[in-house]
């Protein structure tokens, strides 16, 4: 996995990545002591003015989230740095944890100080061994903050283990399955206390905003959304991996930066398995910016930009992802168990070219019916991915409905 610091370097600025994690001494020498004195209402205001958006996938404004927790934190709050990164193709959180863990810890402590929280838990996907090791080292060498407990928790592997209520449930009961809300984590979370669950990248940016201010953050960004973000590029490019880009960078530019050519890709998956397919070459000049993407019915999500190779079959690719997502269901809610199960089955038959008469029509219907009927958004995300596949690969699906495929089947399977 390549990590590239491209201008403007913000999170990824600093010593060479070959050296691994940046130790505390270097971190402080480069950026100064963490500005703990700025924590509290001034920082929350600053975050609101900066327009910093959450990086876990939902894109919720960070300042507003902190304000909501602060309002309820009379009983003492808990801060969770969410580095579960259950999204299989995304690598940005573990890259950040592995290279700049102290930025993440800065942000988490600043949040804790802003709410009077005395417990910070860094929740890292257990399968990301080097990220876990780096965070463990970073926490060990970190000077103590009086009255504050910092813990590393290894999250169980699984797509839904990073979902907010699943995080809370795991920390309370060692069960990483989502819960029905209400109450929401910011109302009653870990140990019944108001809990902030914030993605590690968001916390890292918060730590920089605390040092340099909201205006500094807004200096970057070319389109409607200000700032920079980490993205993960996968697919037929020479240098796949994690990059830091300005919001508003176009897909075309990003592909070039990653050493690829647009012609090698047939479609792009944006935002994660929770996101959606976009058609190429139509999307090449769309800015990678939450608002611009929303106008095309797509989202920035967790910053995943996954290119589908030109020879690959979109129906196969969609089927692979949906089968994975169905398998990752927490199996708590009927619509998810049976709905995703049926969707996966129909897709499997369509992809194999042996569909039943109603399969395509059912997929269309189920993709609408599944939305909002689980305890968490897992079925919603899968349904959204399915819908985008049905749209972007409409011609291909029509072929498959008659048992054909426009791609060489074997090659399509290898690539998809």
């Amino acid at each position: 996995m390549t990590v590239t610091a491209t201008r403007p370097e913000r999170l990824l600025a600093g010593p060479s990545f070959d050296a691994g994690l940046e130790p505390y001494g270097s971190h402080v020498a480069r950026l100064g002591e963490p500005p703990y004195g700025f924590a509290g209402p001034p920082l929350i205001e600053s975050l609101e003015r900066s327009g910093l958006l959450g990086r876990g996938g939902a894109g919720f404004p960070v300042g507003r989230k902190w304000r909501v927790v602060a309002e309820r934190a009379r009983r003492g709050a808990v801060v969770i740095a969410n580095g579960a990164e259950g999204e299989p193709r995304s690598a940005k959180d573990r890259a950040l944890l592995g290279l700049r863990p102290h930025l993440v810890i800065d942000g988490a402590i600043l949040a804790a100080l802003s709410f009077g929280a005395n417990l910070v838990q860094v929740y890292v996907g257990g399968e990301h061994r080097s990220a876990v090791a780096a965070m463990r080292r970073a926490l060990a060498e970190r000077p103590r903050v009086r009255g504050m407990t910092l813990e590393l928790v290894e999250a169980p592997t699984g797509y839904v283990s990073g979902e907010s209520s699943a995080v809370v449930r795991y920390l309370n009961e060692y069960d990483a399955r989502p819960m029905a809300t209400p109450p929401r984590p910011h109302e009653r979370g870990v140990a019944g206390r108001p809990t902030l669950i914030q993605n590690v990248e968001s916390l890292a940016y918060a730590a920089l905003i605390a040092r340099y201010g909201a205006e500094w953050y807004r200096e970057a960004g070319r389109d409607a959304t200000a700032g920079t973000a980490l993205v993960t590029v996968t697919g037929p490019v020479a240098e796949p991996g994690v990059r830091e880009i300005e919001y508003g960078t176009t897909l075309r530019e990003l592909v070039a930066l990653a050493g690829g050519v647009p012609e090698d890709a047939g479609a792009v998956l944006l935002g994660g398995y929770f996101g959606g397919w976009g058609a190429l070459p139509e999307l090449l000049d769309v800015p990678l910016d939450p608002e611009a993407l929303a106008a095309h019915g797509l989202g920035f999500g967790c910053g995943l930009v996954s290119l589908l190779p030109a020879g690959a079959c979109g129906v196969w690719a969609t089927e692979q992802i949906v089968a994975y997502m169905a398998g990752e269901s927490a199996r708590q809610c009927g619509p998810c168990i049976f709905g995703l199960g049926a969707v996966a089955e129909s897709l499997r038959r369509l992809a194999a070219g042996t569909p039943l008469h109603d399969d395509l029509a059912n997929l269309d219907r189920w993709s609408a019916e599944l939305v909002g009927r689980g305890a968490c958004h897992h079925p919603d995300g899968t349904a959204a991915l399915l819908r985008s596949g049905l749209e972007v690969f409409a011609d291909e699906f029509a072929l498959h409905a008659h048992g054909h495929c426009s791609h060489d089947a074997r090659r399509a399977r290898e690539l998809g």
Partner: protein, 193 residues
């Protein structure tokens, strides 16, 4: 003569309670297996189950009250409230008290379920499978009609109904589990790259 009337009432109410209780158990199972027919929607099973259980309490109350108050039996309140305290057919009568307490617990936790929470409610509700046989045995042990053919037939019918319902439920639960488990692809599938 009055003594005989009260004695008949208490026996009759006791037998009626057993029949009602059998009905409650069967209806509870019919609800759980989601049985329905055109013109017989599922919610009727749930509502009937509830109504019949309250009716059971009524007959049970009559059975106990008359038995205690009847001067002919001279059982006294202690016999009813403290199981196994009465020397009269000590064990068999005591079992009746046990069954009653179980039934009361089940009904109370059901009426106040939001208060008790699902787990507590479920645990207590499963005690039905203890309450029913205990009530049956109490009836056979203390019942003055035990020798009669019609009583045996009645008892056999109740047993048959409950046994049939339980095996129906076990079968349905098995099937439901299989359907549920096979609905989704297994976890840890090859993660698509």
């Amino acid at each position: 003569m009055t003594e005989s009337v009260l004695w008949y009432v208490t026996r009759g109410a006791g037998i009626a309670s057993l029949i009602m209780l059998t009905g409650v158990v069967v209806l509870g199972i019919v609800t759980a297996v989601r049985w329905q027919r055109p013109g017989w929607p599922r919610f009727l099973n749930a509502e009937l189950h509830r109504s019949v259980s309250l009716l059971t309490l009524v007959f049970l109350a009559i059975h106990i009250l008359i038995a205690v108050l009847d001067p002919y039996t001279a059982l006294g309140w202690a016999a009813a409230l403290v199981p196994f305290s009465s020397p009269y057919r000590q064990v068999w009568l005591g079992l009746g008290g046990v069954a009653t307490y179980l039934i009361v617990a089940i009904v109370v936790t059901s009426l106040l379920r939001p208060l008790f929470g699902r787990t507590a409610w479920r645990l207590v509700h499963w005690l039905t499978y203890a309450a029913w046989p205990v009530a049956l045995i109490h009836g056979i042990g203390t019942g003055s009609d035990t020798g009669a053919l019609w009583m045996w037939v009645l008892d056999a019918a109740c047993i048959l109904a409950v046994v049939a319902a339980i095996s129906w439920r076990a079968n349905a639960a098995d099937q439901a589990l299989v359907t549920r488990e096979s609905a989704l692809p297994s976890r840890g599938q090859r993660v698509p790259r």
